[in-house]
Assembly symmetry: C2
Homo-oligomer: 151 residues x 2
DNA sequence: CTCCTATAGTCACCCAAGTTGACCATAGGA
DNA sequence: TCCTATGGTCAACTTGGGTGACTATAGGAG
């Protein structure tokens, strides 16, 4: 029996965690919420992004990013505002509702990781995060690579 | 700066590895190859599966699995044969071409994991696999959970 | 044996979320 | 003042899933 490829384990792991996250968010009343939303909100936590920023870190076309932002704005998670220094651009500000999901998502991720810690121990969970960050940054010029809704 | 959620790291990791795999398979002449193909072939390595088996471990409807198999058969990676004991079912046998991609995919995954080992060391790569298998099995009744093309 | 229900598979149609290509407005340097 | 690059959007299309309806066979209850 050959080793299970890491790629497969990662696909399973992310699928499992994202599914659990969305089950719980749904249970807390956050509906019409696509999986990608949480990642966009997490990314815009530290200040507003532009549509192009989103296209880049989601590794999608700017058209697709624009549609994603449409959906997020319509569901009241983001607000498009004019960019103060560039009349072409728009800044995507997280809304109050957006902040609430974001907090819920972070809390639920912490809970899910705590469940993992009960199985393999907190040290090994930390090691997973540390090792993945290290290897991903090392192979992508010191920064984390883009994330994708699909492969 | 809060911790990067593991879910995000897993999504990035699987995206990166699967993308690299397909770049290299493409370079070796395997075209018209969807990401899901490699997982189906790996799963059918130890003997033919039925369409329902595929639907189950890919966590998709049997209709979608049927279309996936259509595509794989059309691209000559699988062959549908009648089931010897159940006239309703068909067994999906891996073809010669299928075996070749499978070997290529396994070899490339080994190479990619070796690149990771050069960054974080072989021990920590092994630890990743061990820990993920342990936690995934523990939370899914002793078996690995299904894999999904998207989340 | 005869039903009756469960299961394997497929067909037709639909939908979500991406892509490509064309386009407009503004930025910003030569 | 152009001329090119960039941020964003609209429209049309593609892909890969889902849903619902259906057929054929399996397999147990009576």
């Amino acid at each position: 029996m050959a080793k299970v490829p890491l790629a497969r384990l990662f696909a399973m792991s992310s699928y499992v965690l994202v599914s659990r996250l969305h089950e719980r968010l749904e249970a807390e009343g956050f509906r019409e919420l696509r999986p990608a939303f949480a990642f966009v909100l997490l990314a815009s936590r530290d200040g507003p992004l532009t549509g192009n920023d989103i296209a880049r870190f989601m590794d999608m076309t700017k058209q697709a990013a624009s549609k994603l932002v449409d959906a997020m704005e319509q569901a009241n998670y983001l607000v498009r505002k004019p960019h103060p220094e560039d009349a072409r651009a728009k800044l995507l500000h997280i809304s109050a509702k957006g902040k609430r999901v974001l907090e819920a998502a972070e809390r639920i991720y912490v809970e899910l990781e705590a469940e993992w810690a009960r199985v393999i121990g907190a040290a090994r969970v930390s090691a997973l995060r540390r090792d993945l960050i290290e290897v991903l940054e090392a192979t992508h010029g010191g920064k984390l690579p883009p994330i994708r809704p699909a492969w």
